[in-house]
Assembly symmetry: C2
Homo-oligomer: 399 residues x 2
């Protein structure tokens, strides 16, 4: 793998980075020039607060409330915390909720970095059964939970993690009906556990906002402690590394703040001040509008290149997502997509990288999926990577 990463001729459809060409240098430059040229004290280069800047917390809470629509007084600036990307907030959230041996319910597939983090904390991900189209298999979920019975193992379920907007890697979004049905099923089963809704890609819907409110706004989740996680990395600049979370429960939130106080006593103040200015000026929303068009075009380009490369005829299948940065592909019978396996080696031979799907799946992890990202590459490189991937797939087909 390290050899592959060191090969300058390798094309990567693996990394979940954003497209460097889209990064908002001018908006950041303008914001910094305004800060530096301003009349006020240079507080933006001073230490900030452990929870994050108050004005930014207010802006972010208002933004989340607006996404959830009128009447939803849901995201509270006083229960909002800013972190080093939403990754830090996920780590804080799970660190204070779960002990080694505990269980977190996740979707199938789910964000593989989150699963690695659970592994680092000794926490086990348990996958909620899904239908072939990616929707939750609610009867299957109910059966799984019921099978836990009243055992000690059931008591170890400490949280539910959902990526319900253009998820990584599935690209799938959850409908309100699906989220409400899940809450109802959990409540009937007496499994009222904290819910983490990771909305990292919510801003990256190709046709605009996905029409489902967050768990913050849904009555069905009233009994559940909730943490809604958002980020300004993917929709603006990963290099500013600012994520945020809105909590509904003071106790959980305070424990996260306490731990963050020990870990770093607050994320860098200057990037937060830049983002305040970027939100205030409208530059954030303008940037997101542009990103949506860019990533929609790149998704279509990758999809078209895979079609043109004959991948469907080889038995591969995938859906076109309505947002996000990823395609989630199912290989035909007999193809094992795991790292270092024959298909992986065929891709290495073609010099194209992907993320093996088993990394995104709680046990039992099927080895027939692939995550491809259209985040980083563009134009000829994106089409070329797709062609390489198709050639690798073709080389595996029975002759």
């Amino acid at each position: 793998m390290n050899t592959a990463l060191a090969d300058p001729g390798m094309l990567s459809l693996a990394a979940g980075f954003t497209d460097t060409a889209t990064l908002p240098a001018r908006a950041v430059g303008d914001a910094v020039a305004a800060l530096v040229g301003g009349e006020g004290p240079v507080e933006f280069l001073q230490y900030g607060a452990n929870r994050g800047r108050e004005r930014l917390r207010r802006q972010l809470a208002a933004r989340t409330a607006a996404l959830d629509g009128p009447g939803a007084a849901v995201a509270d600036p006083d229960l909002t915390i800013i972190g080093n990307g939403s990754q830090q907030l996920l780590h804080l959230a799970i660190s204070v909720l779960a002990d080694p041996g505990d269980i977190v319910l996740v979707e199938r597939p789910t964000y593989f970095v989150f699963m690695e983090m659970l592994g680092g904390l000794g926490v086990e991900p348990m996958g909620l059964p899904a239908r072939p189209d990616g929707a939750l298999d609610l009867p299957g979920c109910e059966q799984m939970i019921s099978a836990l019975g009243a055992s000690a193992r059931r008591g170890r379920v400490k949280a539910l993690y959902l990526m319900s907007y253009f998820g990584n890697p599935s690209g799938i979004s959850r409908t309100e009906a699906e989220k409400i049905a899940l809450a109802g099923m959990l409540e009937r089963a007496g499994l009222i556990v904290p819910v983490l809704e990771d909305a990292a890609y919510r801003d990256l819907g190709f046709a605009g906002t996905w029409p489902a409110r967050s768990v913050l706004a849904l009555d069905a989740y009233r009994a559940f402690p909730r943490l809604y996680l958002g980020t300004l990395t993917k929709p603006f600049a990963t290099g500013l590394k600012i994520g945020y979370a809105h909590a509904t429960e003071r106790g959980w939130f305070d424990r996260m703040c306490w731990l963050k106080g020990h870990e770093d006593f607050g994320s860098a103040n200057f990037p937060q001040a830049i983002l305040e200015a970027v939100i205030e000026s409208g530059a954030l929303e303008r940037h997101i509008a542009g990103l949506r068009a860019t990533y929609a075009a790149k998704m279509h380009a990758l999809d078209a290149a895979l079609e043109a490369g004959g991948l469907r005829a080889l038995g591969w299948d995938w859906a076109r997502p309505e947002g996000g940065l990823y395609l989630w592909l199912r290989a035909p019978d007999g193809i094992d997509t795991d790292g270092e396996g024959p298909f992986w080696r065929a891709c290495m031979h073609e010099r194209v990288l992907y993320v093996p799907g088993s990394l995104c799946l709680a046990a039992p992890a099927e080895r027939r999926f692939v995550r491809l990202s259209f985040g980083v590459l563009a134009g000829d490189a994106l089409a070329g990577a797709a062609a390489r991937f198709c050639r690798a797939a073709a080389s595996m087909a029975p002759t």
Copy 2:
């Protein structure tokens, strides 16, 4: 305490913040303008690496090596990690070294936020005996360690934490002879434990660099795994929140990187790119030269105001530090400086805040010390705060 902090008329000699008036707005503005106006790709707004930017790691390693003088090939960029302030790196370092119930040796007094962090991890600080002038009481240290004997408790000593340049709160720096004698004593006692040298204030010597090499460069520490921690917050901008550490041992370093990968997979890239430019242009060293003069003047102003307020005549004692941001005061017999005690209340009445010394002391924590910072306040406010402190002290004196 919260009431006190909410009082706008309160003058704080407590906070360890830097002086906002000194913050380098122009240098940061120039660096950002150059980055944004450059010809290259906008990689500075992209995700960075988990360990930090390579060029910055090289610059920082070269800078530390230069401070340690010729011939000292000591700080390795490949064993350098960048964090959200050095606080994150301290937290990572201890998290991977120590379990609850373990012990870390610290100076008396030591950095109170570090002790709080140890408490959060369930780790016990054990104070190395000090002489009245602040130097290590080496026979006392030896006796303490020997008293641990071969007990299980001795096996729980997992690290030594030293703040050997203009320490917080003591203002004291360690001589090479003192550091070497400490290493010799530990080695004779068979206590070869990882050493964390926190050099947060090394750049803030009023008359220049303190003439003692770091533990990285001292032969006496060759047998000890070492982590040298530095920061660009105090000597440049706290709002960029960039600290760094150089390790000597690959295993410890890799475990820290692994944990950082789970916590946030890398500190914000943009502040690091700014600091690269600031170091490259010489703006960092120019800024530090100015800061030294500023803080020297502020230390003298606070010292003079306390003298003028008659504090010595009331039985208080303190040394004038040669760097850093703090005065460490010893109260006369009979004064208890702890929070909410009579002296604290007298200070609240005068509307001046300080840090109770017992927070900076491992058990047994004498309650007769005070930390005053000349970091934040300046001019009339600094003199006024000192006058208030002296009035509070005078109000406690027997009439």
